[in-house]
């Protein structure tokens, strides 16, 4: 019998605490058990080294995100080794190979029509030079005239499109955002 075991990928922006190990330890128990039984086992995991929390920590400490990721990835490896974890591979998400595989899967999903892209108009703040999530646009509700967020008006409970708001404001800088075309990816309905 072949056994695949995937341990969750801890986020490389801070030390591991007992809660992490408490949920990951079962993976090593399974791996050791099935190997002792003579089954073929593949037990993998790695450090999650991408994303905003790592950038935030890096900015706080005045170092590069890469340095933060390296530091905690090394610390994780040390902890897992000391605790006797027997991963067949413990890797990291900023590994080039990982990105190649992810892109391949992404393209496959596109090719298989599992996801599709659609051009939509979205609020864009030229001061912040970024597209704004719905919640980051504020303004006046076109239905009741009260203050409202881009996703909905709490006053009259209407679901809104941020571009429908009158007197739109960027929640980050306060300037007025404009509509701009952008491509979004959607799951096709039949996928789920």
């Amino acid at each position: 019998m072949n056994i695949f075991i995937g341990g969750a990928w801890p986020y490389a922006n801070g030390s591991l605490h007992l809660g992490h190990i408490s949920s990951l330890l079962s993976g090593d128990i399974l791996a050791r058990y099935y190997r002792a039984k003579g089954d073929e086992v593949l037990y993998v995991s790695g450090s999650d080294c991408n994303g905003t929390p790592i950038s935030i920590r890096a900015r706080q400490e005045g170092v590069t995100p890469r340095e933060i990721a390296n530091k905690f990835h090394r610390e994780f490896c040390h902890c897992f080794e000391k605790l006797g974890f027997t991963y067949d591979l413990y890797t990291r998400t900023d590994d080039l190979h990982h990105h190649e595989i992810v892109q391949k899967i992404f393209q496959k999903l596109l090719a298989n029509n599992k996801i599709y892209k659609k051009t939509v108009e979205q609020a864009y703040c030229s001061t912040c030079t970024q597209f704004l999530p719905d919640r980051y646009v504020e303004g006046t509700c076109p239905h009741c005239g009260k203050d409202a967020r881009g996703d909905q008006c709490d006053e009259c409970a209407t679901i809104l499109d941020p571009l429908d708001l009158l007197t739109k404001r960027c929640k980050i800088c306060g300037d007025e955002p404009a509509g701009k075309d952008t491509e979004h990816f959607y799951w096709s309905e039949h996928t789920c």
Binding site: N2, I3, F4, I5, G6, G7, A8, S15, L16, H17, L18, G19, H20, I21, S22, S23, L24, L25, S26, G27, D28, I29, L30, R32, Y33, A36, K37, G38, E40, L42, V44, S45, D48, N50, E75, C79, L83, G84, T91, T93, D95, H98, E100, I101, V102, Q103, I105, F106, Q107, K108, L109, K114, T182, E183, H184, F185, Y186, W187, T191, C192
Partner: protein, 336 residues
Amino acid sequence: MSLQEKTQSTFIGVNIPVKGFEDKKIYVWIEAVTGYFSASKKWALETGKDDSSFWNAQTKSYYLHGKDNIPFHTVIWPAILLGAGIEGAPTHIVSNEYITVEKKKLSTSKNWAVWVPDIIERYHPDSIRYFLTINAPEERDCDFSWREFIYSHNSELLGAYGNFVNRSLKFIEKYYDGSIPNGVIDDSWKNEIEQLYRKVGTLIEEAHFKRAIETIFSFVRTANKYFDQRKPWIQIKESQVDCNNTLTTCIYFIANLAQVLQPFLPFSSEKVAQVLCLPQLVWAPIHAPEGTLNQIVRYLRELILTEYKRNLSFSLLSPNRYSIQVENLFHQTFFT
């Protein structure tokens, strides 16, 4: 536009009905869970082995994570695998409830947590593994308390298991000059050991780790009771044959306990295997080994487990880490 740039757009479709994940970037979703697949590819690349045997409908696949990640593994990952035409969707998703520390909700920002780099410097890995398994928050949230940690180590791990191994080996050293007697093991015990492998194996496969280790420790108590009732210290004077049978049975228990405990307490099992000169630890009943207890290991008097005693006041040692003052007492070990 490159794929990377395209995927900077925010995913706003809500076709995957997962609360809390509606506004996550679709690329981020795919990126995070695809690690399992990319890691197997990397493993195959590095070892020259074939990973495709793990990505098919016959493979049993376990995913371990905290309970906040459940939607990732139950909804998103299977959808991606299906969509990309890869077989081998998760068959077992194992998640834990939250852990609290001294009855207070864990908070990394307030530094209310037990940090792994700290605890591994202070305690034996098997003590940590034992505590986390026996107190696994499988069905309800679990609390970590230092008092409970020390207590469970001293009373169960050391008091029950360590004690059984220790008293049996010491007896053989003292009365048999370290040479394991070649006695007869009652068939009922052989049945019991077979049952133990079966029961514990099923529990592990069904991800009931807490019940699995409880089952083993219930047998450890049986083994201690056996030693008490047989009274080998009297048998050695009255009936050499009975005494031989007793100690052979005890060694048989120890060897098999080392095997069933190996997934849980690998370091202790490895030490026991060295002392008994066991070949590789496997998941099947083994006979009581013959021959002599490993001299080298005996004379190294290597510590498997020591008793922990703690200074009951814990202090903030550094602004980052909360920790406790610990005093290790080395007076009780397996081989002294």
